[in-house]
């Protein structure tokens, strides 16, 4: 009798042991993401990049702005790890400073694009009918806009006024993130609309409606969290493309003012010294390339992790 009780408790003990820790949605996603080796490596690279740009200036002594003609165009050395530019400023210090701006532009532009995209997509998908129709026609129209020429046109027309209003750096910063954001929300809007169309038919939405939850709360508190996976993937990839777009603008001389060393601007300044000081071009270019490549690989890994049905 006592033996059988003992055996019973042993069995239940084994069962309890066999039961794994509760698995959450994000835990599952994290496990799938970790399996994607390239994406993991990319995340590490990206994190390193961010740490270098944010904390680097605190430990790396040379100044990014001090002009010293006696040190112009020096090749990389122990003192100046990535050499100096035509005015004798330290390249690494400038790259770290520029990285802060380039990354900030990328993230801010992504936030603008995601906000507009989610708002338009959620409204269109949830309300449906005529509102959906109008919003989707507007989305189609924006998809048909020539992005690069329009970016250039907007910056060309508005930069002087914004410069006067907000100062040369903040003015151009807001203009660039706003313009990049406003020309890149369309894919997210379509994505979110699609998920909303199918999710709004589900029981949990019906249940929420029954207990009297307001429409905006249903949209953003109940349905939106269920569409987060694809949104996160799109957001990640859009940070990369925004960084490239900003650097293109700076490279064309239409971005930040000359003394603001974004990565694109550094390349623009360096192109005239290609033969004498290739490090002026190679290092900033390599930083852009590595950052964007990491973001793209990370986006790929996130797609596999968060959106398993999309997997090819």
């Amino acid at each position: 009798m006592t033996a059988s009780v003992g055996a019973g408790s042993q069995v239940s003990g084994q069962l309890a042991q066999r039961q794994r820790a509760p698995r959450t949605l994000w835990g599952d996603a994290w496990r799938r993401f970790r399996r994607h080796r390239l994406a993991m490596a990319a995340s590490v690279v990206l994190l390193t990049m961010i740490v270098i740009c944010v904390l680097g200036p605190l430990v790396y002594p040379p100044s990014p702005t001090r002009i010293d003609f006696s040190k112009a165009l020096l090749p990389p050395s122990a003192q100046h790890w990535m050499g100096t530019d035509d005015l004798g400023r330290d390249m690494l210090a400038r790259i770290m400073l520029g990285g802060r701006i380039s990354l900030a532009v990328g993230i801010a532009a992504m936030l603008v694009a995601m906000s507009v995209g989610v708002l338009v997509g959620a409204t269109a998908g949830y309300w449906g009918g005529r509102i959906d129709n109008i919003l989707m026609r507007i989305t189609d129209l924006f998809l048909a806009l020539p992005v690069v020429p329009l970016l250039l046109l907007l910056i060309f027309l508005f930069r002087d006024r914004l410069r006067q209003l907000m100062g040369p750096e903040m003015g151009i910063f807001w203009l660039i993130i706003f313009v990049i954001g406003i020309l890149n929300w369309m894919t997210v809007a379509r994505l979110v609309r699609g998920s909303f169309l199918s999710l709004k038919q589900r029981e949990f939405v019906e249940a929420a409606t029954c207990i009297g939850v307001s429409r905006p709360a249903i949209m953003f508190r109940h349905i939106l969290p269920n569409t987060m996976g694809p949104i996160i993937v799109a957001a990640t990839l859009s940070v990369g493309s925004a960084i490239i777009t900003e650097s293109v603008l700076s490279f064309l001389g239409l971005g930040f003012p000359p003394d603001t060393p974004t990565w694109g601007r550094l390349l623009y300044d360096g192109q005239n010294y290609l033969a004498m000081a290739p490090w002026m071009v190679l290092f900033p270019g390599f930083f852009i390339f590595l950052t964007v490549l990491s973001i793209n690989f990370m986006g790929d890994g996130l797609r596999d992790a968060l959106d398993p049905r999309q997997r090819q």
């Binding site: 129209l141 046109l153 006024r161 001389g253 852009i288």
Partner: protein, 319 residues
């Protein structure tokens, strides 16, 4: 078929009108008076300024201004450049051949490279070949074109001295030597443009192939005893090319935008270079005309893509 094309055409017109409205709105909202220079000039009496305003239609209600502007944009009457006083249309015609040559070669090249690589990748997905191709594709669309351009110049012009780094558009091809020179100066710009485009297109061909490979008709073709090569090329590839052809048409405006940067790097005096120069000179008529051309290109190639898709895939019907 005829009604399908007609319907797409009817839908393209409102898009073009919508885009033109956005362009005009941006221009109208932009700060700054077009006659600011006159206003600052004390030798121009206020009555004259008023007359000029009225003549130019600046006091008209905004929708009248828009209609006038749209009519002249459509008819190719783009006005005169502020900077050179030349008609905008003739400026653009001068620049067009260089851009078309470089953009066209780059595009043909990237299609020719992307299709075989995409097909080979899809036959054995996640094999070493596919992995290398995927990595290259990711590198292709992660490197900003201006960086690839500068690195190519550094390697092939500065260090090896094989290729010229400035594009000479005055070169006339009339002998074998000049032909070689032309090819040599085109190698780098074309490579830069093609690299970016090939990356995206390879991925697209691959995924289109992967969509078709597990289909029933593929199994039927195999069970008929056809050679694997025939199955892939005659059956799967043919069907996979339908979306690819659409993408090729849709990508034309993108590669034109890519030319803006490429022309800047290699100093090719094409349309993109004209756009940048006009922006720097605040030459509004030229900037507007070029932006309008780009917008028209997008609408036009969207239409072409739709029509080709309708012709190639009879299942697509517009309703």
């Amino acid at each position: 078929m005829g009604t399908y094309i007609l319907r797409r055409l009817v839908f393209a017109v409102p898009t073009l009108i919508g885009i033109s409205m956005i362009l005009f709105l941006i221009l109208a909202l932009a700060p700054g008076d077009p006659l600011a220079q006159f206003a600052a000039d004390p030798s121009v009496p206020p009555e004259v300024r008023e007359n000029i305003r009225r003549q130019l239609g600046l006091d008209d209600p905004i929708h009248i201004q828009y209609l006038k502007w749209f009519r002249s944009m459509i008819s190719g009457d783009w006005g005169f450049s502020f900077a050179s006083r030349a008609p905008v249309a003739s400026l653009i015609w001068q620049r067009l051949p260089q851009t078309l040559l470089v953009v066209g070669s780059a595009y043909v090249l990237s299609v020719l490279i992307a299709i075989p690589i995409g097909v080979l990748s899809s036959i054995r997905p996640y094999s070493w070949f596919d992995n290398i191709a995927t990595t290259f594709a990711f590198v292709g669309f992660s490197v900003p074109t201006f960086f690839t351009g500068l690195v190519l110049i550094l390697v092939f012009s500065v260090n090896l001295r094989w290729l010229p780094f400035i594009y000479d558009s005055t070169l006339r091809v009339n002998s074998f030597e000049t032909f070689i020179l032309q090819i040599k100066q085109m190698i780098m710009p074309v490579t830069v443009l093609a690299l970016f485009q090939t990356g995206a297109m390879t991925r697209f061909v691959r995924s289109a192939m992967l969509d078709n490979l597990p289909q029933d008709y593929t199994r039927t073709a195999r069970s008929k005893g056809l050679a694997e090569r025939t199955v892939i090329i005659r059956h799967v590839l043919r069907n996979s090319l339908i979306p690819v052809v659409t993408l090729v048409a849709l990508g034309v405006p993108t590669i034109f935008s890519g030319a803006i940067v490429t022309e800047q790097i290699f100093r090719i005096n094409g349309i993109g270079e004209l756009l940048i120069k006009s922006i720097q000179n605040s030459d509004t008529p030229v900037v507007m005309a070029i932006t309008f051309i780009f917008a028209t290109l997008v609408v036009l190639f969207n239409l072409i893509a739709d029509v080709i898709y309708g012709i190639l895939d009879p299942r697509i019907r517009y309703d």
